[in-house]
Subunit: 97 residues, 2 copies
DNA sequence: GACATATTTAGAAAAATATCTAAATATCTA
DNA sequence: TAGATATTTAGATATTTTTCTAAATATGTC
């Protein structure tokens, strides 16, 4: 059922900078540089966070000329939501263990 | 809106042992010792994980004689679900930014 | 081709986390 | 109260993560 790398996804979500990156991408794709403007962090560190998010398959990338454009991968989000629900029996109200 | 400690919750969920602890509690409350049976880890390390889960308000505790009984706190879990949905606009289909 | 810009990779240092052993605390039973 | 069991706390160590600087790669422009 879960094709996603559960551990990678949860680890990716655990960092506040990465969650903020995801937030920024809610309104549409952005280049690495555009995302970085919001953070007081070097491009290298940011790039590391991108790598973690990509590894968890939470974002997709596409090169556009000099730029690399990042966008949310909403498919994995659905899996994540399901995963969270699965951890808490009462709310999801989906019977079996 | 979010009364929960977002960072604490995500951090708590990032560790596989802690997620497994939550899983074990799905079927009902268990003592620290009962939970520990499933893991190849010292009671001290386990206790550390309990502390993290408690700090995130994901579990509740109650002393019963010698034992300490742990149970899921499903209230916070609803917040968590909402939080995840909030990070991914397409899934929740809830308009605003 | 040379140079500028955008981004990533490599390698090191600093900070956070997970784990352990040993000791402390709480409760139970005799 | 003494001894046993259950759990946590303290302190140390090992691992992982975050961040940085410097260098490398890719693309665009002159």
């Amino acid at each position: 059922m879960y094709l996603m790398k559960q551990q990678e996804v949860f680890k990716a979500m655990a960092d506040p900078t990465r969650r903020a990156i995801l937030k920024r991408l809610q309104d549409g794709p952005l280049t690495a540089g555009e995302i970085g403007e919001a953070f007081d962090i070097t491009p290298a560190s940011l790039s590391h966070h991108f790598a973690v998010l990509k590894h968890a398959d939470l974002v997709r990338t596409e090169r556009r000329g000099q730029y690399i454009v990042y966008s949310l991968n909403s498919t994995v989000f659905e899996d994540l939501t399901r995963m969270v629900l699965d951890l808490f029996p009462s709310v999801g109200s989906r019977g079996g263990k």
